[in-house]
């Protein structure tokens, strides 16, 4: 049993590539070892800014010998096929046996035995293959070499059984060794190692923590140590943590101060500037208020305990934040609506006009939507619509695009714009995805919905649809946003109306294309709705309710699904569903077609009971079904009454009676049952 260790030593690999590369290396090695029939007890990959590596433990010294009986073509097959088989198996015709395979004919079989090779040799080949086949998100060339890698490779360490495993890369010519290097500055000399545990230990002594998760833990430990006993708490940011873990070999967390004069800036500006430009962590106090300190994860341990590093970082941050204050002062002087002029030059999409035009459409759309959804008054909606995008032209959003909406809201408040409008400016991009905050303030909901409808209808209107692999305008997320806004705010709205209203705002869209676009958009949202419902309801239920012929009311579909789920969990519900299916089957299989006329004088007792119950049910359902979001619980309560008379009908009445008038009459009665149930809920397809 032996250990294999590989380290590919390079110039600094982009932090965002490292987790992917580590995973990829592991999978590549696992696949190749399996193909070579090399078993092992454990395998582990690791990555950092300058190292990508792998350790495999418990490998045999020799590949096991291989014995295989390989099946070939029929003995009477064309000679080409037979020759091909013999060549691939490496045997002669005489060495093959002929075996009859139950009834299918007589086939050639070759016994192949291969002596296992030295693991050492196979591993050396494997390294070459891995380097050749490795896939990076982006590669580069360097020097005069042919090789492409994420960044220049500067060395390879390869060990097997404690000895260097010779591997020679050709272009560039790099011969593997049993040495690596420590930290770039703190310990740059060559380090000899004989196995992984020594590798990890010696590197740690030379200021390198090899394993990413250990580096991450070290960062968090240091943070907690620094904050201990202070009213300071880390503003958690897993993405940032992962990134800084990939930027250091020897993490040293240092704390710097933000000067008071900058603390008047909106906290989002401070945090974004610190994170985006500087990769600093923000801190907050117990109440969640941003604290005037930051954390920087450095890669150095210095004689002055990081004094100069902190000083330098504070100086850079001061310059950054002075910029931010400059932007704020410049921006806040300009009334928000004045930026709209600049938005004429800013393209929403080449075929869909400028952002300013989008704002105008949203003012119109917002007003139309109010007819269906009384969420605000017209003036408020129009004011909001025309200010929603204004901040895109400000200097601050130019610098930090991720602050769109947020800055607009701050500037609006500073300029005395109505609070609800400022809120809508901030909220209207949300929700951006399944876990993002979903607006609830009425004006925010209206604007968020209008913005998304305009986007979706616009792109579909000019023939831009997402494909399975590409969705550059995030139209799936936009559709999900519409769904969440409707469901989480219980909006009773019909998609054809919403889509139609958005379509009407595009002055240059052709009237004759409206029906086509509406169908496409609605089907797209319908698909996303099914995906949204998938984890919540049974597949059949979803397809039954949001299937063909769905009317486009998302809230209604949701209410119906919830009620159906409850109803069908009970025996009564299951019985009624069974009865419905029986009714539907009889109607489908019957050769006769009724015109629906029912003659009660022909009824026998069970039919009378059913008919009377049915009439009662219909009468009660009438008003219940009149509202667009029906109270399904009550409806199912009423429908449930049909179960028993239906049961007795089936027990006592023969639908396919000899007398055609009886037969037609009974079919008409069942037709009425089906119609009544379908009107109430989507039983078809369940």
């Amino acid at each position: 049993m032996a250990e294999f260790l590989l380290e590919i030593f390079s110039e600094e690999i982009p932090a965002r590539f490292q987790p992917l590369a580590q995973e990829h290396l592991l999978t590549l090695a696992q696949t190749k070892l399996k193909k070579l029939s090399l078993e092992y007890t454990s395998i582990q990959a690791f990555s950092g800014p300058r190292r990508l590596g792998l350790v495999v433990r418990g490998l045999p010294l020799h590949q096991p010998d291989m014995h295989e009986e390989r099946k070939g073509p029929r003995i009477e097959a064309a000679s080409q096929a037979i020759q091909g088989f013999l060549a691939s198996a490496g045997v002669s015709r005489e060495e093959c046996t002929e075996i009859e395979v139950d009834g299918k004919g007589t086939f050639l079989f070759a016994k192949i035995s291969k002596k296992g090779e030295k693991t050492e040799k196979l591993l050396a080949e494997m390294i070459q293959e891995i380097i050749q086949e490795f896939h990076w998100p982006k590669t580069m060339r360097w020097g005069s070499y042919a090789m492409a890698w994420a960044r220049p490779i500067r060395g390879i360490l390869a060990l097997f059984e404690g000895r260097a495993l010779p591997v020679l890369l050709e272009d560039p010519a790099i011969l593997s060794t049993h040495t690596t290097q420590g930290h770039r500055f703190l310990s740059p000399q060559a380090i000899e190692v004989k196995d992984f545990s020594e590798y990890e230990k010696k590197l740690e002594e030379n200021y390198v923590i090899v394993d990413g998760s250990k580096r991450q833990k070290k960062i968090l430990d240091q943070i907690h140590h620094l904050l201990e006993g202070k009213d300071l708490y880390l503003k958690e940011d897993p993405g940032l943590l992962e990134e800084v873990t990939g930027l250091v070999e020897w993490p040293r967390v240092l704390m710097g101060k933000i000067e008071d004069r900058f603390m008047t800036l909106p906290s989002e500006v401070l945090m974004t500037s610190m994170k985006v430009h500087q990769r600093y962590f923000s801190l907050q106090d117990k109440k969640g208020t941003l604290a005037p300190f930051f954390l920087v994860v450095s890669n150095m341990e210095t004689a002055d305990k990081g004094h100069q590093i902190v000083e330098g970082n504070e100086r850079v941050l001061r310059a950054r934040l002075r910029d931010a204050i400059f932007f704020w002062d410049q921006d806040v002087k300009v009334p928000l609506h004045k930026w709209n002029h600049a938005l004429k030059n800013r393209i929403f999409h080449g075929e869909l006009g400028s952002i300013q035009e989008k704002g105008e459409r949203l003012a119109g759309l917002g007003t139309t939507l109010l007819l269906q959804l009384p969420l605000a008054d017209t003036d408020e909606a129009q004011e909001a619509a025309r200010l929603l995008k204004a901040d895109l032209a400000t200097a601050m959003v130019g610098e930090f695009p991720e602050l769109q909406g947020i800055m607009g809201s701050y500037y609006a408040k500073a300029q005395g714009v109505k609070a609800s409008v400022a809120q809508a400016i901030r909220d209207h991009y949300a929700p951006m995805g399944p876990n993002d905050f979903c607006p609830t303030a009425p004006l925010s909901v209206l604007m968020a919905l209008a913005d998304k409808l305009d986007t979706l209808v616009g792109f579909f209107g000019v023939g831009i649809f997402p494909t399975a692999s590409k969705d550059p305008y995030a139209l799936r997320r936009t559709a999900l946003g519409i769904i969440r806004l409707i469901l989480e705010n219980k909006l009773d709205a019909s998609l054809p109306d919403l889509i139609g209203a958005a379509y009407a705002q595009y002055g240059f869209f052709k009237r004759e294309d409206q029906a086509k676009t509406t169908t496409l958009v609605q089907e797209f949202i319908q698909d996303r709705l099914k995906v949204y419902f998938k984890p919540l309801f049974d597949h059949d239920l979803i397809n039954g309710v949001v299937g063909e012929g769905w009317n486009g009311n998302i809230l209604k579909a949701h209410e119906e699904l919830m009620a159906l789920r409850v109803f069908l969990a009970e025996e009564e519900g299951q019985n009624l569903l069974k009865a419905y299916k029986r009714v539907a089957n009889i109607l489908k299989q019957s050769a006769d077609v009724t015109d629906g006329t029912i003659d009660p004088t022909l009824f026998e007792a069970p039919e009378i009971a059913l008919y009377e119950t049915l009439q009662g049910v219909q009468k009660e359902l009438g008003p219940l079904l009149g509202s667009s979001i029906p109270e399904y619980k009550k409806i199912f309560g009423v429908l449930g009454r049909l179960a028993s008379p239906l049961g007795s009908f089936f027990d006592n009445i023969l639908v396919q009676a000899e007398d055609p008038s009886l037969r037609l009459n009974r079919l008409a009665l069942l037709g009425l049952v089906r119609q009544t149930m379908l009107k109430a809920a989507s039983f078809e397809g369940l």
Binding site: E12, L186, N299, D304, G312, L317
Partner: protein, 292 residues
């Protein structure tokens, strides 16, 4: 480190000395308005072709859009780059770069120096490369790029370009926070000359020109003229004069862009027009140098 070697000019002198010892030809700035050292023919044109090449130079750069009337402490429409091009990229180029920082007074044992992913693209040159921005205590002080393409042509061998942001570096070295406060000549007292003495008025006036006074009609006309002239010179196989016209086109575009008269839709097409000129110049120059 003396005051003199920490001064703006001291940094330049030390970098020149350092790279001269590495076998670089120390050339002079290009005598035209350009937006980055990369445009210097000693970089852009020489990054192509098989012949080894090592140069270093200071380049004054003009980016009209970055002008801030001299009111922003660290953004200006005119600034300096120190540019090094090494072809092919040497094995120890990172170490050479770090040694050069040491030579201008940045002790790597007291500072936190990091190589952070930043791939470079020069759309008007059709150029791209992979590399990093180099951070010193969180300040971006250099751009480190392995050129992969120039004018859309693959670079083979690959050169490495080191671009030092001289003002940013000087801030770190002199522990200052405002470009205009930087010591230019390392003299204190009466004979002191600061970066502000040298350039503050220039920033103010040039910003007024860039954002308010530049005559856009004239600029649009000149753009068309130099574009035509570039094509005409290429027809006469004059790659280098044609490239000068291309540089003029690039600067005229930058001025028009700063004046805000090029809409978002037109912008890419202007960039593409300059890129087409650049590509044609690169190909012609390779041809004139006898390289296929």
């Amino acid at each position: 480190m003396t005051e003199l070697s920490r001064s703006f000019q001291g940094i330049i002198l030390n970098l020149q000395n350092f790279w001269a010892k590495q076998g670089c030809a120390i050339v002079q700035p290009y005598d035209m308005e350009i937006g980055a050292g990369t445009f210097h023919p000693a970089t852009a044109l020489r990054a192509l072709g098989p012949k080894p090449w090592r140069v270093a130079f200071v380049q004054p750069c003009r980016r009209p859009k970055d002008g801030r009337y001299g009111e922003n402490p660290n953004r200006t429409g005119h600034y300096y780059q120190f540019q090094v091009l090494l072809k092919p990229s040497p094995e120890n180029v990172q170490q050479l770069y770090l040694d050069s920082l040491e030579a201008i007074g940045i002790d790597h044992l007291l500072n936190d120096i990091r190589f952070v992913e930043d791939d470079w693209e020069g759309p008007t040159l059709g150029a791209s490369g992979n590399g990093w921005e180099v951070w010193c205590n969180g300040a971006e002080v250099s751009q480190f790029t392995y050129f992969q393409q120039m004018g859309g042509i693959p670079c083979d061998p690959v050169s490495v370009e080191l671009t030092y942001g001289l003002e940013r570096l000087a801030l770190v070295i002199q522990k200052k926070e405002n470009f205009f406060d930087l010591s230019w000549n390392g003299v204190s007292g009466e004979g002191a000359i600061t970066y502000g003495d040298m350039f503050h008025q220039n920033e103010r006036e040039q910003s007024i020109y860039n954002f308010e006074q530049a005559d856009t009609g004239v600029l649009f006309r000149q753009f068309q003229e130099v574009e035509k002239e570039c094509a005409r010179l290429l027809d006469h196989d004059l790659a280098l004069p044609a490239y000068d016209q291309c540089l003029k086109a690039s600067h005229l575009f930058n001025l028009l862009d700063a004046r805000g008269v090029i809409s978002a839709t037109e912008r890419p097409s202007y960039i593409a027009r300059v890129r087409e000129l650049a590509k044609a110049c690169f190909l012609k120059d390779l041809n004139n140098r006898g390289i296929e």
